[in-house]
Point group: C3
């Protein structure tokens, strides 16, 4: 596929500067070849433009004097680049149809536009929308409902009764709808609490590889429209994640936690069960959310990196910090008493 | 399925209060409909009883005056609820039998009560107990032994020689018996140490989605009876987990760690390799267990959440805490010397 | 298999002490039986030698007086043991050939020495080297290239265009080549950035169960020769991991992080995106690498375990550490002023 720069400008709402040319694909500015389009979002890369073999650059208006090539001018070069990259690399679904090694329950209707790959298992009561792609080795259990344009990658397991909205991408190894982790102590051992809720996933949701989303205990676990989940995230039972919230890899979200809309949650963040987080909250990487967050803003709790030698000296003192604080208070009282006028 | 409230009382050892009625299922008190049974375990939800459409409530004796509905009276409403929920929602195994897409080694005997789903692979030497359910896409390698009433969900991988006791539930994406992570430096690179042990899992063990349990190096990795493991837990080689210990999601347990009985281990806890933890230990969420625990009790090591702005000011000081402690000591000496009588 | 002790000595470059004997396998010193070979790498286990039923011991020269059995003498008993264990327990590949339930694209050539198990899916354009083993349920997408002697365990998913070098072991549930996590805010929601790079894995790389390695955005994610990755590690897009670096379980590596050669990275370590770590760096367990590391050495940032009761008192003070530091400075100034000569 190749598109004229002028057409890309028109389709992305950018202004074109310089002569028109044919763009075959996007590329990193340092590795671009002729026929490729690169972008600069940070002025420190402006010097790379002259050295680049790219045929054109996406750039901000204010940097145009540094650019000796045809350009697309955008206030948000990263966004313009993403749009161009999508145009030049559209998702191509596999041929529609059902491969003969797929096992599909008799009562399931497969729309003509759907693609079902090798060894897929689809159980009774499943509903599939249009243009759904189900890749090899995926198991869709009873009564799952999947809307249009959902792409499920290989070896995903979707538990019974789960609902998946439009335009979702579900990557390999994801497990949706395993039982929530609910037990009650019963004498010497534990009794499992039946997990009777389901998982409800909205539209435009992406779920990264090996992420797990448990079914609810009585009510559903709910992932709202536009949520993006990275790899290896754990979403416990009855969690609710608000619209357009983005969560980076390896986050662990405890049972019944409620996360608001438009939050940005960093990698390996932990969220304690039953915590509530309001809208528009940023949580930096590796933070442990130990209490509810009622005001939007940025929150943290990780430690900073240090040489092990220094870290050892400091971290051991942490176990005596309360003692230090009390001793400091005692000293302040003494010094104030003896130097009343020196403040 | 519907059961009379009086029968549920009898079967759970609760006392019934008020008139009998037919109970179709359990529900959350805020969403219950007629014919459903809800429970209250916390007095803050007592006011919800009047508003609830539930036909009956499980409640403590002391709260009975707040309840205008038929009730089951229990000292432990949560436990009674779990029992009732199990009665009304018994696990229903798929039909027994072997689907024709399953691949089963010639020497394996499949009991009549066993259910083997689509695309299951069972290798030579495998032994299966009664009422075992093996879901679609599961791979059981050579010489695995599985006892009665084990339910294995889709896309699980069980490595050769693993032993699984009675009444276990193994959720999707679990990997049992991958090689432990053992290497020895050999010049510029690393030599793999053959992992010759197996994984031994007791009875009544649950293993959550995408959890991994490695085989031992020379001896076995051992999960004792009644252990409950949540999702995405990592159990390294030669770990031993004692009876009825419960571990929440995303815990990472290092090689040869020994965890006692009846422990409660929170989410995303890390346990350093070779650490020993005695019985009846509670470890709060996100703690890193850096040394052995010889006395039962509760242990922690995480940080508290803060505004990023405040956190930045404080966390940088942590790198100088040892210096602060020394300066505090110097000051104390000075002030004591100059104010010897003021203490 | 059984090998004479003298032959093992010759093949491992150890010196034999005492009489020759036939060794059937290796074992733990406390559990060894006759015909087995154990090792001692720590003098605290020397007393176990007399009690052991092992037929021979691998030991350091300096401890020989404590050993009443035939011995292999090595400066590095652990390495010698690993070598012997490998000789006595060679990896045995399944029979070569393609099982009839495998689904292989018409254009793929399968070398005679390759073993393809049940329900394997191999898509168009895939290249396979010699002695490759692909276990049940594995899905290899379009245009993947796999070199000689690669062993892929059950239920692995390899995304299109991935390259895997010689002698790699890839354990169950691994996902290679899922899309990187790249989005750009576009008004109220997020636009996905197409992930156009691949994953390139060198030779002698091991990848533990349920680990995920994302494809690059424009350029490739690169794992160099000799890297060993434990279970449940997350490797984001455009990460580069240098030769012979070893990473323990549950580490989370952010996008575009560059890790040097010969690093040792502990369990559950987090590495922030875009961070660079030089060669020969040790990072202790549970550390969060918040900034680049330019000098080799050991780095840390975790907290130490404490009783929850003590931890609560101390951790709350952490939120006021900056205030404490300022008050300490004020006190120092006061005391110095009032006791100028006492230092």
């Amino acid at each position: 596929m190749a598109i004229k720069l002028s057409q890309l400008a028109e389709r992305t709402g950018c202004r074109m500067n310089g002569s028109d040319c044919l763009i075959e694909n996007v590329a990193d500015i340092h590795h671009a070849e002729q026929g490729q389009l690169a972008f600069v979002y940070n002025p420190k890369y402006l010097d790379a433009i002259n050295l680049s073999k790219a045929s054109a650059i996406i750039i901000k208006e204010e940097w145009l004097s540094k650019c000796n090539k045809p350009a697309l001018i955008s206030d948000n070069p990263r966004l313009a680049f993403a749009k161009v990259a999508s145009m030049l690399n559209p998702t191509v679904n596999p041929h529609s149809g059902v491969l003969k090694t797929a096992c599909i329950a008799d009562d399931v209707t497969i729309p003509d536009s759907v693609s079902i790959a090798e060894n897929v298992v689809i159980c009774t009561g499943v509903k599939l929308g249009k243009n759904v792609v189900i890749s090899a080795g995926v198991v869709i259990s009873e009564n799952v409902a999947i809307e249009n344009n959902v792409y499920i990658h290989p070896n995903v397991s979707v538990g019974k009764g789960s609902k998946i909205g439009h335009n979702c991408n579900i990557y390999s190894g994801v497990v949706i709808g395993a039982d929530g982790f609910g037990y009650v102590r019963d004498g010497d051992s534990y009794l499992k609490v039946p997990q009777l809720g389901n998982v409800t996933i909205g539209s435009n949701v992406d779920i990264g590889a090996n992420t797990t989303i448990d079914r609810g205990a009585l009510l559903d676990t709910i992932i709202h429209d536009g949520v993006k989940l990275d790899n290896q995230i754990q979403v416990a039972h009855n969690v609710e994640i608000g619209e357009n919230t983005v969560i980076s890899a390896c986050a662990a979200i405890g049972g019944s936690a409620k996360i608001g809309k438009n939050c940005l949650i960093g990698g390996a963040v932990g969220i304690r069960d039953n915590v509530e987080i309001t809208d528009n909250v940023v949580i930096t990487g590796r933070t442990f959310v130990t209490s509810s967050i009622k005001e939007s803003g940025s929150y943290s709790s990780s430690m900073l990196l240090d040489r092990t030698k220094n870290w050892k000296k400091n971290v051991i003192r942490l176990k005596h910090l309360d003692d230090m604080a009390k001793r400091l208070k005692v000293l302040e009282n003494k010094v104030c008493k003896s130097n009343p006028g020196s403040d």
